[in-house]
Amino acid sequence: MIAIIDYKAGNLTSVQRALAFLGYDSVITANASEVLAADRVIFPGVGAAGTAMFDLMRLKLDTALLEAYGRGKPILGICLGTQIVMERSEENQTRCIGIVKGEVLRFPEKLSESGGGRLKVPHMGWNRVEITRDHPVFDGIDPQSEFYFVHSYYPAPRESRNLLGQTLYGVPFASVLASANLVAVQFHPEKSGRPGLRLLSNFCVWGGKDHA
């Protein structure tokens, strides 16, 4: 069973619908023991880091997630979930879970593309992800594929071994993180068409080993 962690932070039904389309049952849960009983865990979310951490701690889901990670269960972070696995976030100056070393930063105020055009924040829409090394979760995904993003903050991992994918929006930023049995994506695979579905189906069969 796949557990989708529910901490009232966003549209979780769309992740569940995408898994159902792929033929996988999942449970949306805020129950820490249900998270620990699952074979694999998806950690989604939209919203603000401060509120999200508050709710996670209240529900003891922060420790459940750390324990699931420690036990080697495959974990997929999505959007805010990806930021929450870092050590801390500039958003509401929030201390986060800290599975991946580094911070979450806001896109600069005056962001512009190389040609000088002004870039709007949030970064919203389809963008490329440059995968820096092979990983089972990106198996069979065309490198030209684009994914759907909606965010104003991005993770900045301190160690390069945690960087699996990079995206350019005024500045280059880490759009995919990897750490042992965790993969975390800043975009929404459940809203990214076929490449996104391929990523989810790869995750659903992934044993949790990173061969880097």
Partner: protein
């Protein structure tokens, strides 16, 4: 870098498309779910559903349609038409839409924008704007006035001021429809699009007037739009989304070419 989005718009009434859409081979598709699936396969970046149902049962029918669409396509889509309360928004978003679009309801009750943004995040709230060209005046300095009821009623609101106010209140995106250009197939209202797109910090979807690929190119290049809403240009089989995107791609507009 971000791709410019191509967004087909589907008008729905009583759970059916208002015009059966004819493709090459004259296949007439009247079912919005099938149509959504078709455009998903074709490479649409997002879809917009506009519900013009007038009946009392409208909400249930729309929610059922949204649920079926969400089970079948995995790109963002928004739903507009008849959304008047936060509860309406909640039902549509829970059914699987990524965004809701509010138009006249936001003019009648601007607080609805902020309430929606607080409950679901700005990214879920699209401010739909129907705009008509008027003589610039003290009240309407931009020369573009907000209209409701399909353009029949003038509101006395300046379009540029309203766009900025909508952003301030928490809208995450603007869908900007020119009533003057709508249905003409003679091109988007470029001046209006550029005026709004360069004066707000949220994405602007240009709407109304697309009849040829050149129109889409110019609304990105000159209108500075982030996305282009299209309808008849693809609904009747004149162009495919791939043809539109290839045309743009060859002219250095970044669009999503792999799906």
């Amino acid at each position: 870098m971000l791709s410019k989005r191509i967004i087909p718009c589907l008008d729905v009434r009583d759970g059916k498309l208002t015009k059966g859409i004819k493709f090459k081979g004259n296949i007439d598709i009247g079912d919005p779910v099938e149509m959504a699936a078709f455009y998903y396969d074709e490479g649409a970046d997002e879809l917009v559903f506009y519900d013009i149902t007038a009946s009392y049962e409208r909400r249930d029918i729309m929610i059922e349609t949204v649920q079926k669409v969400a089970e079948r396509i995995f790109i963002p889509f928004s739903v507009g038409g008849g959304i008047r309360t936060v509860e309406d928004m909640r039902l549509v978003l829970l059914a699987g839409a990524e965004k809701v679009s509010i138009n006249s309801a936001a003019i009648r009750d601007p607080g609805l924008i902020g309430k929606g943004a607080a409950a679901f995040g700005s990214q879920a709230i699209v401010l739909g704007m129907d705009v008509k060209r008027v003589s610039p005046s003290q009240k309407i300095p931009s020369g573009y006035e907000m209209v409701i009821e399909g353009g029949r009623t003038f509101t006395g609101l300046d379009a540029l001021a309203w766009a900025k106010e909508g952003e301030r209140l928490g809208a995450g995106e603007i869908c900007l429809n020119s009533i003057d250009a709508d249905g003409t197939q003679k091109g988007y209202e470029l001046r209006l699009t550029e005026l709004i797109a360069t004066n707000v910090n949220i994405p602007v979807i240009a709407s109304g007037g697309a009849g040829a690929v050149e129109h889409i190119l110019e609304v990105f290049k000159e209108g500075m739009a982030d996305a282009a809403l299209i309808a008849s240009i693809t609904h009747y089989g004149t162009h495919t989304i791939r043809q539109i995107k290839s045309y743009l791609h060859e002219r250095d507009i970044k669009v999503r070419m792999t799906w």
